[in-house]
Structures are given as structure tokens and as C-alpha cells.
């Protein structure tokens, strides 16, 4: 089966982002395909390469980078949500004249069309909030 995921929750609060990463790993281990993970609203904070977490807590970014590097999973941050939260890629930081990119390069910054393309091309769209 082909899956796509929509992540709405911040990695700094609640359970949604962590559950989504574990879910993504599990569907791949069961032989499914993961077409795309789309991060919207507070979910775009998942892609931050500048967040600093307490050392005794789990790394919130690493599981996603692993999914991208080991399984080629496409990770997309919604551009309007990302900009509001200071999540910029190389291009965005230049265009808006900010000090530098803040989104990890494993993530693409793009529009909501990528969510609808994912829904159209997947058998399952699973949303993670909270």
C-alpha cells in the first residue's frame, strides 16, 4: 500500500510528531511505500536544524533524517507555516535576507499542492496532531 502522512504537531509539545516518526518507520518495515510526509502548521517545527533540546531527552530530528537518508522518504514543510515560524531553507533565507537557513536540508520547503498531490497518489493519508 502507498501511504502519505500529514504532521500537524510541534516536536516540542505533545505526542503527534514522535508518533508519526515511529509510524513511518513501522509502515516501511511492513513493506508499504511512504510517498511523502507533509508538515503543516506547528508540524513544520520538526524540520528545525537550530532547535536545542535537553540532553536527556530523545532527539526529535534524527528519526526524520534517518527516514530521508536510509529510505529516501520525501519530507516537505508547508511554506506559509514554515516562514511564519522562522523555518527557512537556503533559498528562503536569501530571498528574505535572513542570517541563514534554519530548516535541515533533509526537508523541502514547498506549497500545499504537495499535500494534495500526496493524497491523490496514496492509498492512505494519515494525520497526526496533538
Amino acid at each position: 500500500m502507498i501511504y502519505s502522512l500529514l504532521v500537524l504537531s510541534s516536536p516540542a509539545s505533545g505526542h503527534g510528531a514522535r508518533t508519526a516518526a515511529a509510524f513511518a518507520r513501522c509502515i516501511l518495515s511492513r513493506g508499504h511505500q511512504l510517498y511523502r510526509v507533509f508538515f503543516l502548521d506547528a508540524g513544520t517545527e520538526v524540520g528545525s536544524s537550530v532547535a536545542v533540546l535537553p540532553q536527556d531527552e530523545a532527539d526529535r530530528l534524527r528519526p526524520w533524517i534517518d527516514l530521508s537518508e536510509q529510505h529516501g522518504v520525501e519530507l516537505v514543510l508547508c511554506i506559509s507555516s514554515a516562514l511564519k515560524r522562522g523555518m527557512l531553507d537556503e533559498n528562503g533565507s536569501r530571498r528574505h535576507e535572513k542570517i541563514g537557513p534554519t530548516a535541515h536540508p533533509a526537508f523541502i520547503v514547498s506549497g500545499l499542492g504537495q499535500l494534495h498531490d500526496a493524497a491523490a497518489n496514496s492509498d492512505r493519508l494519515i494525520t497526526f496532531g496533538g
Binding site: 500500500m1 501511504y3 500537524l8 504537531s9 505533545g14 505526542h15 503527534g16 508518533t19 515511529a22 509510524f23 513501522c26 509502515i27 511492513r30 508499504h32 492512505r124 493519508l125 494519515i126 494525520t127 497526526f128 496532531g129 496533538g130
Partner: protein
Amino acid sequence: MILHTLATTPGRDAFDNCLAILSPEDAVVLLGDGVYAGIRKTEACKRLRADALAAGLIERLGPITVVDMEGFVSLTERYPRQLGWY
């Protein structure tokens, strides 16, 4: 046939909104803050082992089935639509 993922405490509106449209052909996965619904002995619900453990509810499960991530994924294989409540 709807797979509801309920990630809010029973005190929040989203919880009641979800229960209002439940039907016997649906399944509910309690996750995140949703696991506290276990205290109310809500029937026919499933919950994630990790969240239940974190909330200290693993000993008080009652009629709810505990599922791990594999179990959660297998439910998404069976149900064509998932609706998240949080």
C-alpha cells in the same frame, strides 16, 4: 468504516465530537492524551502501548485492547479512512 485516532483527554470537546459520530463499524485508537480515556473504561478502544506506559495506565486497562505500533499500522491497512481528533 472510520479509524478514529483520539489524542485528547476526555474533558476536551474533540473527545465528545468523536464519540458523537462513532458507530460500531468504526475503530478508535487512543493515543497521546487520549489514553486517559482508559480511566473511564471506554469500550472497544485500542491504545498505543508506549503512550499507556508513559501515562502509567498499563495496569488499569479494563476492556480496552492495547496495541503496539504494528497493531496501529495494521488497523490503518484495514480501515480506508483515518480521522484524527486532538
